[in-house]
């Protein structure tokens, strides 16, 4: 097939452009490490992507350009539209979805390669790829496919399409059997160098099923770990397929994302004081019910009007948002309340736990959307020393991340998890929808403390009442 340029010129141009792409990606990610330059960072990386995509049309020996343009228009168009309209509170599932698409694309690249091997005659198949390349293609296919189906399940759960966590006895054994069977099939593909069509299809089917069965039992509060893990998976899958296609841009970008995603996954798991294996292979909350004793005192409700007065006359208020704030879409009202307090001379800070919400940094995005300046937002390490000096800790829809048993009760499933020390504040106000326990099913001792008052109701409604009360307090 005749390209626009002579083959060697086109190849050189593409390789140089990929060098530029890799450079721009690095610059972009680097710029994202500060809130001041972050926005420039994504634009820089975007320019890199555009250059890479346009130059890739010049590959020698390519056809199907009409199909290609149509596919880009469909995929890009739908993603553009969905990305523009999605609410900030729904961001975790959109990121899971786009991530799954990347994993699926990597798997599709591998599928084309493996099917070509299957359909070619044995000699030609062996000549096409050595065992190393086949092994890389197969590994990438495995990881990418798991990331694809796993991310789609994560999307379904976060979107509320899948409401239950499916668990049954022996689930881990079933998962391990599927892993074993998939790896065995993968190995047979690599060794035979000329797999049958059935083997390849079965291999992909099993990998798809594995992603589903791995993700279904994982609960909502573990989603930050899962999303960052699948992000790393997709990155690695892209890198592996980059080897197969001898595409340096894919290798570099994939590995950078894989390593960054691995680090982020570790950070998230550490913030829950759990190992990655524990998140993936054990249902949270098992055996937690037994640890519910030892609660002394009672839940003491308070009217929003009194709570408002308490805050209006405080010197320092620390706000601790959690997933409940996101569900109630209360971030705008909460900031309105805080602005009122600030105008009254109250010092207001926001304390964010690393795993609050459903993805890393979920709360920060919501607060930013409401207009909260990022210098008012503090993370766990910065803020924990300040609770001693706070008059009010306002907990909005957060639960396990402020439960003091994580510090004290060795028998508790969340023992050792770093928490926000809300209990050290002079007064604790908890906005909560009902009286139930948190995601983990563990009783929260914070709610029973002498200096804690509960404000029951939807976070948005309560915030509105608090605003009213603060205004009335003059």
């Amino acid at each position: 097939m005749q390209g626009l340029l002579p083959d060697h010129v086109a190849t050189l141009a593409i390789n140089i452009s990929y060098l530029l792409v890799a450079f721009l990606f690095m610059m972009g990610l680097k710029a994202m490490s500060s809130p001041v330059t972050a926005r420039r960072g994504i634009v820089v990386a975007g320019v890199g992507m555009l250059i890479g995509t346009v130059m890739s049309f010049l590959y020698p020996g390519m056809g199907n350009f009409a199909l290609m343009l149509a596919a880009i228009a469909i995929g890009g168009g739908l993603a553009w539209w969905s990305g523009r309209i999605v609410a900030m509170t729904d961001m975790p599932q959109m990121i899971a979805l786009y991530n799954g698409m990347g994993g699926g694309a990597a798997a599709a690249i591998a599928a084309v390669e493996l099917l070509r091997m299957a359909s070619a005659d044995p000699v030609a198949a062996a000549a096409e790829h050595g065992p190393v390349v086949t092994a890389l293609a197969t590994t990438g296919a495995f990881i990418g496919t798991v990331s694809f189906s796993g991310s789609l399940i994560a999307f379904g759960k976060l979107q509320g399409l899948i409401k239950r966590s499916f668990r049954f006895k022996g689930q881990q054994i079933v998962n391990l059997l599927i892993v074993g069977a998939t790896l065995a099939l993968g190995a047979s593909i690599v060794i035979s160098a000329h797999p049958t069509m059935q083997t390849v299809v079965l291999f992909f089917a099993l990998a798809l099923i594995l992603g589903v069965t791995m993700t279904l039992p994982i609960g909502g509060a573990d989603m930050p770990v899962v999303i960052s893990l699948y992000n790393a998976f997709t990155g690695l899958a892209v890198a592996f397929e980059g080897f197969v296609l001898e595409n340096a841009a894919m290798i570099i970008a994939g590995i950078v994302v894989g390593s960054a995603g691995t680090l982020l996954t570790q950070l998230m798991a550490k913030a829950m004081n759990r190992s990655l294996g524990n998140v993936l292979f054990s249902g949270f909350g098992e055996g937690a019910a037994a640890a519910a004793e030892g609660v002394t005192g009672a839940l003491k409700p308070i009217e929003a009007s009194d709570a408002g007065v308490m805050m209006a006359f405080a010197q320092k208020v620390i706000v601790i948002p959690g997933y409940g704030m996101a569900v109630a879409q209360a971030q705008h009202k909460v900031w309105e309340l805080c602005q009122l307090l600030i105008d009254k001379g109250v010092m207001v800070r926001f304390a964010i736990h690393p795993v609050a919400g459903r993805m890393p940094g979920h709360m920060n995005v919501l607060l930013a959307e409401a207009g909260v300046p990022y210098d008012l937002i503090a993370d766990l390490d910065e803020i924990n020393a300040e609770f001693d000096t706070a008059d009010v800790a306002l907990v909005i829809g957060a639960n396990d991340v402020v439960n003091p048993v994580a510090r004290t009760d060795k028998g508790s499933p969340i023992y050792g998890m770093p928490i926000l020390n809300a209990d050290k504040a002079k007064n604790v106000l908890v906005i909560k929808r009902g009286q139930g326990a948190g995601f983990s099913g563990i009783e929260n001792h914070l709610f029973y403390l002498d200096n804690t008052r509960m404000v029951y109701g939807d976070a948005q409604k309560v915030a509105a009442e608090l605003i009213h009360a603060v205004k009335a307090a003059g």
Partner: protein
């Protein structure tokens, strides 16, 4: 590509990725994750090659799906990251969403 050279690339890229994210403040974890989610959208160019070289109908179908997914990853990842990052503002900066204090 030479196998050993490719390994060099992998090692250097892995360290780079680690170093870049290790210094990112916690408040930027979401945009960073979503930014790296965008970056692996480069899989689009691989999918384009797979589709461009497809001969049989089956290969074309799979390649087509691959390009749709890859384009979705790249474009979607860009749009949401950009939307999130443009919301981050410091105290001094003007924010059009700021409500009038009563």
């Amino acid at each position: 590509m030479e196998g050993v050279i490719a390994l060099y690339i992998v090692m250097l890229a892995a360290f780079t990725g680690y170093e870049i994210i290790a210094r990112v403040p916690v408040i930027l974890h979401t945009p960073l994750m979503s930014g790296s989610n965008f970056v692996h959208g480069i899989v689009l160019v691989g999918a384009m090659v797979a589709l461009g070289r497809a001969d049989t109908v089956l290969e074309q179908v799979i390649g087509f799906i691959g390009v749709v997914l890859g384009a979705g990853n790249a474009v979607g990842g860009y749009v949401v990251t950009e939307r999130m990052l443009q919301m981050f503002k410091a105290s001094g900066q003007k924010n059009q969403k700021k409500k009038e204090p009563a």
